[in-house]
């Protein structure tokens, strides 16, 4: 693995990407069973929402070991916080432990060791209280295929203790939101993947939960449906709902998340905002220039330009890592023209989250079997 500069100590594992240190410090984990925050109404996202930026979920050395013939450490000593009002993305390849973290936080599994607070409640002592303030959309389909869209929502409305009047008002509203009003009385089993997913997502916030957990919300969906779902998630978040989502799609995280956490093999390897993570990339921007072939002295000259960090040339394509790429580009182009090189294409891009993920974890996100890159 690369990225050694981010390792600050064996015990605390990966911390300290720019200013994220304090988000991982154990002393910020509340020691008391219940924190002294008073809330009057747990159902509504209105005035009871804690001020944006305060910690709403705290994970402290959360560990889950599945004991079987061979013990599998699914989640390995994870500590972090999620702040109220943010969209927090848990990123990692398949099998990284994202779903297990979500399952522990949503009271579906008990940690082997460590603890977590969701809202003001500890996950093993107050699971009932947690269930009242969260909405969950699990990864695999949990709609009852024999019930219609309306009946599915009604079932959950009742389980979540909504009154008849609330359900009567809320269900048509939710169905309309995801464009399923005309399919309200059709069994969910007949829906397409996208329709099912949308129905499950609105089902998760039928009761205006304070915190919404979405486990791979757009897995296997077409681009239109994904964009639709992203729009709904953002709308909800704007209304004050804290959203925790897991994904292994980098574009999803880039579109939605205020902060992201990288998970690999059960461990949390980085937590920060996208901006800070990008800034932490040593390569700055990536500039790719297509040519009809250049002399080797050209690349050497290019690497001597101001702001240029690294230059590589292969098959006529020059790949340049540079700070502040757009400002550096003119001097690169003029150097090439001066050397009479024929430029066929120019692309300039910021490093993607995928690039950052690879840089930090040494692992590709979608191709775990491929191993380190």
């Amino acid at each position: 693995m690369r990225a050694a500069p981010f390792r600050t100590g064996a015990k605390r594992r990966w911390v300290g990407l720019s200013d994220t240190r304090d988000t991982l410090l154990p002393e910020r984990i509340p020691q008391k069973h219940t924190r002294s925050v008073t809330r009057t109404d747990e159902q509504s996202p209105g005035p009871d929402i804690p001020p944006s930026g305060t910690d709403i979920i705290t994970l402290s050395h959360l560990t889950k070991i599945f004991r079987n013939r061979t013990d599998v450490v699914a989640v390995d000593d994870v500590s972090t916080v999620v702040k109220a009002g943010e969209i927090f993305g848990l990123l990692g390849p398949n099998g990284a432990g994202k779903t297990t973290v979500i399952r522990m936080l949503t009271t579906l599994m008990r940690p082997t060791s460590g603890t977590a607070f969701v809202g003001d409640y500890e996950i093993t002592r107050d699971p009932g209280a947690i269930r009242r303030i969260i909405g969950v959309c699990p990864q695999q389909g949990t709609l009852d295929p024999d019930l219609t869209a309306r009946e599915n929502l009604n079932f959950y409305g009742k389980l979540l203790d909504l009154s008849d009047a609330e359900r009567k008002e809320r269900i048509p509203e939710l169905l309309k939101m995801v464009g399923l009003s005309d399919r309200a009385n059709t069994p969910a089993g007949t829906f397409s993947g996208g329709m099912k997913r949308k129905l499950e997502i609105v089902r998760a916030f039928i009761h205006h939960p304070r915190i919404l957990f979405l486990d791979e919300p757009t897995i296997g969906l077409d681009p239109d449906s994904r964009r639709d779902i992203w729009k709904h998630i953002r709308t909800l978040n704007e209304k004050g709902t804290t959203v925790i989502l897991t994904t292994h799609y980098m574009d999803e995280a880039e579109h939605l998340c205020d902060r992201v956490a990288f998970m690999v093999d059960g461990k949390l390897v980085a937590v920060d905002t996208l901006e800070n993570l990008k800034r932490a990339m040593p390569g700055g921007d990536l500039i790719e220039i297509g040519t009809e072939g250049v002399e080797s002295t050209v690349t050497a000259d290019l690497s001597r330009l101001e702001n240029v960090i690294r230059v590589r040339e292969a098959d006529g394509i020059i790949r340049i890592s540079a700070h502040n790429g757009s400002r550096t580009l003119p001097s690169i182009v003029s150097l090439l023209e001066h050397r009479e090189a024929v430029i066929t294409s120019i692309t300039i891009r910021s490093p993607s989250l995928e690039d950052i993920f690879i840089h930090i974890t040494g692992t590709k996100l979608d191709a775990r079997s491929g191993g380190p890159v």
């Binding site: 949503t106 008990r110 269930r131 699990p138 695999q140 949990t142």
Partner: protein, 356 residues
């Protein structure tokens, strides 16, 4: 083609070997069948409790009565109880304490017939009593007429069995409808959705038991109607019908609680189906549905005592075939309630409120 067939063949065998319950049940199933079926359906019917009395017994026993009493005490066919009067003997018969009541004529009624009242609602037992008793009297050498009086009229095996099938209907409906639902929810992952809501585990278990009971009642009522229309079972009055429905409700609740609580422990419906199919037959056979309970060996009788279906079948036969009331079936209902309560408590306390 061969390669494809081999692939399917291999996959299937691998799955079979990896399901220990299936493997175990496929061996144990036939063995238990042999033992249970063989003993439950082929037993010798003897030691039948019958009541004996004589008209005006206080005026002294007739030689016929004394000789018959002595012979009856010697045989293994009957376990006799002496009653003071015909009335007492018949009450015991009505209450199900004895299977028959033999009333011998008074000393002054020379040539009077012996009246043999028989509980005709049972299978095989009436004919065993009839042939055993007549053979015994004729063997005494004293000429005597015997008047056979089946107190519930002629009841065919179809009716005897038809009533018990109501219990089978309740069991199978719950097995497919109630037990499988709870497992399929887990297996299909539907449960993961509602376990994150504040619904209590008691609500989940009681809700399942409630809906299972309604489904079981529905199936039981259909079989009851079939029993009336086709088997010719008679419902005597509105009160009798209300009592029947009440007892059906109790049985449905009892058996449903039993199965739902059992099912809530399973992850895979394959293992559940294999075990429940086994229990279904074990419980039904030892319930006395096919063959009189009295014919079973002692060890199998013990299985009956802990079998809610045994009490259910008995209660239904009492109220449907014999027109008896709560005073006779209350013990059955108490036992069914005990089973229900134990099952509900077990079901709620052991229901896993997590995915582990």
């Amino acid at each position: 083609m061969i390669k494809g067939a081999l692939a399917i063949f291999e996959r299937d065998l691998r799955k079979f070997v990896r399901t220990p319950v299936l493997l175990l049940m496929s061996v144990i199933f036939p063995l238990v069948f042999l033992i249970i079926f063989g003993n439950a359906l082929g037993g010798t019917i003897d030691h039948i409790p019958i009541g004996v009395t004589q008209e005006d017994l206080f005026r002294g026993e007739t030689p016929l009565f004394s000789a018959a009493m002595q012979r009856m005490q010697e045989t293994e066919t009957f376990d006799i109880t002496l009653y003071r009067s015909e009335e007492h003997a018949k009450t015991a018969l009505d209450d199900g304490a004895v299977y028959a009541a033999a009333v011998f004529p008074a000393p002054y009624r020379t040539g009077g017939a012996i009246r043999l009242y028989i509980d005709s609602s049972e299978y095989l037992i009436p004919s065993v009593i009839e042939s055993g008793f007549t053979g015994l009297i004729y063997g005494l050498g004293t000429p005597a007429d015997i008047e056979i009086l089946p107190i519930y009229g002629e009841i065919e095996y179809f009716q005897f069995f038809g009533v018990a099938v109501i219990v089978l209907a309740i069991f199978t409906t719950t097995m497919f409808g109630g037990g499988n639902t709870i497992i399929m929810d887990r297996e299909m992952g539907i449960i993961e959705g509602y376990l994150t809501t504040p619904v209590k585990r008691s609500s989940i278990v009681l809700g399942m038991i409630g809906s299972g009971t309604v489904k079981a009642m529905f199936a039981a009522s259909i079989i009851l109607i079939v029993d009336v229309l086709i088997a010719g079972v008679i419902i005597r009055s509105l009160e009798n019908l209300i009592l029947i429905l009440f007892v059906l409700l109790m049985i449905s609740l009892g058996i449903t609680s039993f199965i739902i609580s059992f099912a809530s422990r399973f992850e895979s419906h394959v293992a559940y189906s294999a075990l429940v199919a086994f229990f279904n037959l074990l419980l039904f056979i030892t319930s006395g549905a096919f063959y009189p309970h009295i014919g079973m060996p002692d060890w199998l009788t013990w299985v009956s005592w802990v079998n809610p279906e045994f009490y259910s079948v008995h209660a239904l036969r009492c109220i449907i075939l014999r027109g008896q009331g709560l005073d006779v079936v209350y013990f059955d209902l108490v036992m069914i309630s005990v089973f229900s309560l134990a099952a509900i408590v077990f079901g709620i306390t052991t229901f896993r409120r997590t995915l582990e």
